[in-house]
């Protein structure tokens, strides 16, 4: 069976049409359609920037759809200083960085074991992980909530003394939940690496760990980079786990904290929007710098031939 994983280069649009074409009305219509759609697609984002840049007093007087008298960053600085935004960002870092690293590490280990060794339960194990990642989170949440309340940990580890309402708890659930997808992608990727490499290393007396860590893992770098980008975005954007498993407002990562800020700034939509856009900065950085990695990650798991 051939497993094709899409490399980042293949994901770029074709430079040339499949065949040379004369001008046809079809392409003009397509061009027009895409222009309209692109404008529609950008409108909400551009519009929200525009509102965030205007003082509330002005939009209260003139409405949102009006020419600007003042454009100012005041809403952004106010949103930042009048809330604990730095703390929410820090929480996001504390959750996202360890969760991404641990998920990739554990998923690589697991994927290596099931794709390189002929174990009896390879396929059932892979099915278990893949299916687990596809479950809606809400299927798990009720028992998970009780489990989190039941697991007691030393206060120095979690602050709350429980897995519930702790940063560690969020790392654990994000890691466990995303493992399935990464195992699926990485095991497919590792199958495309020739087995002969492993066999040669065995002749040289390399241990299993050396073969995994020194030989296989470096060859998975493109897949790991794509997955890291994707996981960072997903975990950073997580809303559900943090809303249900964190009860204290100032322990929430930034994405879920937007729900608190919405309550705090309830009378000032311009400032809420500014806060939301500030929260999007890391994802926008990923978008600008790592677009291809992100897309590659999304499609890595889906194209199998």
């Amino acid at each position: 069976m051939a497993v094709t994983t899409v490399s980042t280069a293949e994901l770029a649009p074709r430079a040339h049409p499949v065949r040379g074409r004369r001008w046809r009305p079809g392409s003009a219509a397509a061009q027009l359609f895409m222009i309209v759609m692109a404008v529609l697609w950008l409108t909400p984002i551009v519009f929200s920037f525009y509102i965030a840049l205007r003082p509330k007093s002005e939009t209260d007087r003139l409405g949102y759809v009006s020419l600007p008298h003042h454009l100012t960053l005041q809403n952004f600085t106010d949103a930042w200083t009048q809330s604990d935004m730095w703390r929410f960002f820090l929480n996001s870092v504390y959750v996202t960085v360890p969760a991404v690293i641990v998920t990739l590490f554990l998923a690589s280990c697991f994927a290596y074991a099931v794709s390189r060794l002929s174990l009896r339960f390879n396929i059932p194990l892979l099915i278990l992980f893949t299916a687990g990642n596809l479950l809606p989170q809400q299927v798990l949440i009720t028992p998970l909530y009780r489990i989190y309340l039941a697991i007691h940990l030393p206060v120095w580890m979690t602050g709350s003394g429980l897995l519930y309402n702790s940063i560690l708890g969020l790392i654990v659930i994000n890691t466990s939940f995303q493992l399935g997808f990464c195992v699926f992608v990485l095991s497919n990727y590792m199958k495309t690496i020739p087995r002969e490499m492993d066999e040669a290393a065995i002749m040289d007396g390399a241990s299993l760990w050396t073969r995994f860590w020194r030989l296989t893992l470096p060859m998975c770098r493109p897949a790991l980079a794509a997955l890291a980008t994707l996981l960072t975005t997903w975990i950073y954007n997580d809303f559900f786990w943090a809303i249900t498993l964190i009860s204290t407002g100032n322990k929430r990562p930034i994405t879920s904290a937007l729900a608190n800020l919405q309550g705090q700034f309830v009378t000032n939509q311009n400032m809420i929007t500014a806060a939301a856009l500030l929260a999007a900065i890391p994802t926008l950085v990923v978008y600008l710098l790592l677009q291809k990695q992100f897309i590659a990650g999304l499609t890595l798991g889906s194209t199998k031939g």
């Binding site: 692109a38 554990l106 009720t142 194209t303």
Partner: protein, 310 residues
Amino acid sequence: MLTRRDKLTVAAMIGVPLLLDAAFVWIPALASVFLSFTKWTGVGSLHIKPCSEFPSAPGIPQPGCLYGVQNYKQAVTIYPDFWPAVQHNAIWLLVFILIATPLGMLFAVIIDRGIKGSRIYQSVLYLPVMLSLALIGIIWELIYANNYGLINTVIGRNGNDNLIDWLGNPHLNLWALLVEASWRQAGYVMVLYLAGLKAVDPSLREASLVDGANPWQTFWRVVFPAMRPINIVVLVVTVIESLRAFDLVYITSKGNPLRGLELLSVAVTQNIVGETQRIGFGSALGVILLVISLVPISVFLYQTFRREER
């Protein structure tokens, strides 16, 4: 072949991830099934005895007990949010299948043909995929706002006497959120199909065109069937995403689900984070979600792992 040390390594490499996946994904999923047959407020312990053995007296909290299929019965008969939620989840799925998916596919086909500016179109159209749904909910409020909003101003319905309450009106708000959700979903589908289209052997398309088929026929009779694996992935993603729909409703409703926006996922959450927890009832709703989601999951697993068994 494996030394003793290698065997220990393998055990750890498999054991640790398996333990996490079991403890925090599969045990909760199975526990949902068990808890759905109980009645429990989360206060006091859970007994493996029928509820009839614990007389309920006012003021004395009943301990957890076995409740049979009563939770399911209550859900479908007296729980007011249940049928609206089912209906809304079904509408969500239909809109994703009938609008967001074809739109995403169309974007992919046009971009794949390499029209001028296709790189820019691609970047613009998938930008929403990177944004969190919480952020999407917040920025779309500006579009839908009653007096100041973009739509009401443009169509001249922003006076207090004639305004359209897009997010508050229970007949409109689901559709308003579906526009937001499709705005994101179409870009996701586009990215998947772009990869799918590139995986199709170009000679198939050429051959079909040489045989005299027009591009429309070529796409539906040759290219689309050749993308079967991607079609299944898109189908699975579509169903699962419409069952998971939660964040947009939560943000738009400011935590207190508005009428017109009832969803199964929201109902599950309300039964555990509310002041009176109904663990058994919430689990029963979760199990209903589980059963529905197992259909696309099985299709995907069958398609993916069938060939490996051989």
